[in-house]
Amino acid sequence: MSDNAVEAEEVGHIADLARIDLDEAEVERFTEQFGEILAAFEALDEVPEVDREADLTNVMRPDEVREGLSQAEALQNAPDSEAGQFKGPKVS
């Protein structure tokens, strides 16, 4: 189990990558649970390498113009918009 121990800082780092703020209680719970869950995932080490069937094919269609959403429809669920465009937070 000690191999799989997860540190609180690691949970915080992953939360940063995933862009999800966590409160302290969540970090504490997740730190404990992730150790247990990742230990269970460890069993995947026993899986042999498997030849995967190469039956994948690309699905293509002609690039034709067809009816899509109107600008108003595309914006109708946005918390904020301006001049027919989505309005997001500042980038930096």
Binding site: V11, I14, A15, D16, L17, A18, R19, I20, D21, L22, D23, E26, R29, F30, Q33, F34, E36, I37, L38, A40, F41, A43, L44, D45, E46, V47, P48, E49, V50, D51, R52, E53, V59, R61, L69, E73, A74, Q76, N77, A78, P79, D80, F86, K87, G88, P89, K90, V91, S92
Partner: protein, 426 residues
């Protein structure tokens, strides 16, 4: 009866005047887009979100004359086995009071079991149609990957999920599947059953004829299952035997690793799919601050704990240094599971197991222990990894009166085989 809380919204959507489903009330899971009607995925993130278009399956329901009585409650974004992770409250099991209805399509199974709808649509990523069907004593079908369009289904783990029917009987579930199945040029992963040696005559296959049917029973899926569940399972097999079927045991060593592989793949896909919820194009705004701060705040407020847990674990499994250890091994396991099933299905028409290894849990006992909840998906997740069709039919009840489901798995595009076999029981 106590309030089920099975619907998130009860706005009625009327279909065409005439059609094969006219007069039928078909409830729709709340992760399937309905033009002009709120679609929340059971999440606070999408509270008030109104899709500007219909999912392909909803279009087909309307064309077929169905009336949609409402949008059904579900685990948030399909992430759960009990319908307790919904931001809109848990759902009561109408046939086993005080117990969960299963999940994540718990609302869909509950409204069918309670007679509040004639049929319903669910979605199944790792068992989310079959589990609630089993726990509520109704029928659920998870179609072959690619049989039903996912256009308008709000994605959780798109390489695994399919929309499918829930109904009181196998024949009614097959009727609903007939309406929603078929290729769609808006979903490049759909395939035409007619290119795979079959057709769409599903309802006619529900003739109950199992004479000569060969059933394989994977012993791994019985090991560790609850005793009362196993007993009910064998009673159902005996019933099929009495009608002319035969069974033999088969070994599927790969399924021992299916749950881990499923969760690694599903969480990884979820971490990518749910990146779209940034509070800008839809969802709850994260307020002031720079892009990253606003994004992270929107997601802290909008997502519930199980969704956060899965997005974080998926992010971890895909992060530098861990990708090969988790994600790549999980894909190996997926290929292995697929090979095992294909091989077992060369000697058997269908593979049978209990749908769930346990009877419905009591409400409130699952949320504190996510790993135990994940392990309850041991029998359903391998089927999604293998892209195969499966049906859950009522097998009977435990001595305590709790419903038990029988799962029958068929070959790819073998829906008619599992429908025929299942219809001998329900």
């Amino acid at each position: 009866m106590a309030e089920l809380n099975a619907y998130i919204a009860t706005e009625t959507i009327e279909g065409a005047d005439d059609g094969p489903l006219s007069g039928k009330r078909v409830a729709v899971k709340d992760n399937i887009s309905t033009d002009g009607v709120e679609t929340t995925c059971g999440s606070a993130m999408l509270e008030g979100y109104v899709p500007p278009y219909d999912a392909t399956v909803v279009q087909r329901l309307k064309q077929a004359g169905a009336t949609i009585p409402g949008k059904t409650n579900m685990d948030e974004f399909g992430m759960g086995t009990t319908t307790e992770t919904s931001a809109y409250g848990a759902v009561e099991n109408p046939v086993a009071e005080g117990h969960v209805p299963g999940g994540s399509s718990g609302g869909s199974a509950a409204v069918v079991a309670a007679g509040e709808a004639d049929m319903a649509l669910g979605s199944d990523t790792g068992g989310s149609i079959r589990c609630p069907a089993a726990f509520c004593g109704v029928v659920g079908i998870k179609p072959t990957y690619g049989l039903v369009s996912r256009y308008g289904l709000i994605a959780y783990a798109n390489s695994l999920e399919q929309i499918g029917p829930i109904a009181p009987t196998v024949e009614e579930a097959a009727e609903l599947l007939e309406i929603i199945a078929g290729p769609d040029d808006r979903d490049g992963t759909t395939r035409d059953a007619r290119d795979h040696g079959t057709d769409y005559d599903f309802a006619a296959a529900a003739d109950g004829d199992v004479d000569g049917l060969s059933i394989g029973v994977p012993t791994e899926l019985l090991d560790g299952a609850d005793e009362a569940v196993v007993e009910t399972f064998w009673d159902a097999i005996a019933d099929l035997e009495a009608q002319g079927a035969s069974y033999h045991e088969v070994a599927l060593p790969s399924v021992e690793h299916a749950v881990e592989a499923y969760y690694v793949i599903a969480m990884s896909e979820a971490s990518s799919n749910l990146a779209r919820f940034d509070g800008v194009r839809y969802g709850q705004s994260g307020g002031d601050g720079n892009w990253n701060e606003s994004f992270a705040q929107s997601r802290e407020q909008g997502f519930g704990e199980e969704v956060k847990r899965r997005v974080l674990l998926g992010t971890y499994a895909l992060s530098a240094g861990y990708h090969d250890k988790y994600y790549k091994k999980a894909q190996d396991a997926r290929a292995w599971v697929k090979q095992d099933f294909d091989e077992a299905l060369t000697d058997a028409d269908v593979l049978a197991s209990p749908t769930m290894p346990v009877p419905p849990m009591e409400r409130g006992e699952s949320l504190d222990d996510p790993l135990t909840m994940y392990l309850a998906d041991a029998n359903t997740t391998p089927v999604n990894l293998a892209n195969l069709p499966a049906i859950s039919v009522p097998a009977g009840e435990t001595d305590d009166g709790l419903p038990v489901g029988l799962q029958l798995v068929g070959p790819a595009f073998g829906e008619q085989t599992i429908i025929r076999a299942g219809s001998a029981l329900a």
